[in-house]
Amino acid sequence: MGAFEPVIGLEVHIHLSTESKIFCGCSTRFGAPANTQVCPVCLGLPGSLPVLNRRAVTFAARLALATHSVIRPVSTFARKNYFYPDLPKGYQISQFEEPFCEKGYLDIKLKNGAKKRVRIHRIHLEEDAGKSMHAESYVSGDETLVDINRCGVPLLEIVSEPDLSSAEEAYAYLAQIRQIVRYLDICDGNMEEGSLRCDANISVRPVGSTALGIKTEVKNMNSFQNVQDAIDFEIRRQLRLTEQGQAVEQITLLWDAHRGVAEPMRSKEYSHDYRYFPEPDLPPIQISEAWIAEIAREMPEMADEKTRRYVEEYQLPLYDAQVLTEDREIAVYFEETIRTAKDKKLASNWIMGEVMRALKEKKGRLADLPVTPDRLGELLNLISQNVLNQTTAKKVFDRMLKTGIAAGQIMKEQGLEQISDQSELESLVQAVLAERPKEVAAFHQGNTKVFGFLVGEVMKASSGKANPKITQEALRRLLQARQPD
């Protein structure tokens, strides 16, 4: 039997970060007490009418532009009918025959540096459903508890073409979507909180064939790692079946991250007849060329554009520019830092090094870091001005992380100012030379290696505060003065 290859398409849902829901004024805030962000529209009570949130449409248009999609001049809403307790109306308002936009693409970056174009079939607007609680300690064995808060939170569903051929590519595509929606400021991209969700359609086919095999759908992947693990698992399962000459069944599987397996959903849990029909309560969305042009003008600078600008305008190495623009928060932090910091490369080094390390250790968000960009800028300027050397600056930075106090103040409190005073350094050097006659003699006999050792001794004597450049000059001069005739 010939070789088989996997074929993967992803359906990605993103929560739009509007203040209010898509069809009513209830708040979208995550983590509110149960059923406190609910109104008659959310509950589908008789007589209530949905009214579309303009910002949700603007956000959809931003994503359409960023994914090179074709925006329909007119798109309409439809009712997707199914019965589940977290959907009080008995239908989800979605878009079906006339989605918001179609025929887009993303160029994803693979680990080997290659690029791959992934086509986007369609992107449409819809509302989220509520949340069912099955396993929490306060749920008894015979019940399911329902919180309606999430009902009506605006979503965009992004449906790719089946252009992905490995778990790694799926991961890269999802990471790219996350980066884009964060740059567009339309979604926080948080998979753990469910604001970025992903289902995968997976099949296998003989290499070289263009026909699609029977596909399965994998759901419940709640982290980037889950997505990669679950897709890998399902590909291996299908390849094994196919190699044994068995047919792949068209089923839906749920990923169990704890056990590392994807289990078939019981057929009762899903029924695929949604009986879509046009939503009579919502008029069509009409998007004019002028509106698209206005949204295009307001598009933020994207990662690739920032990378290019950092190289051209700030003369940063390409590597630095790519690392700094990977995450929009970091890029913004960098740009704010260099409003204060004079040395842009120094700022880049510190953000890629100390700041990212601190974030990793704290597992926190950049916005919560006690060292604000202007505070970091002040610290970096103290290095540029030779007031602090790198070693003491790191000590000051650690203290800033703990206290949030400004660098200048910490420096004074701890007496960490770099010693750049000529006469003060000279007396330190003289003292070291007096204690080290053997090394001084060795230097004078031509052993230049001891020079570094003597610099180190001076630094030690100054508790690391000596200005290295002035120290070296003073040391050289004073050694020369002691040169025997």
Partner: protein, 95 residues
Amino acid sequence: MSVPLEEVDRIAGLAKLQFSADEKSKFAAQFNQIIQYIEKLAELDLTQVEPMSQVGVGINVFRDDCVQPSLTVEQVLANAPARKLDFFSVPKVIG
């Protein structure tokens, strides 16, 4: 066109409803009446009529993205057949 009993079963299943045999044959008859009524439309010449998804006249009816007060939890749960803490309680769905 006529609606067979199995179609009533399927639709009841999708709606998670259960009916007796008597009810099912009654519904099948009613479904048939409704469909016959709608089928009258097929007698019209609609070649000159644009398909439409909506009877309303408007387009782009929007609201601004402003948070408005929601109901109180008590109001939200006032019509709940069963309640536990501040949640709707329904018969177990999975497991």
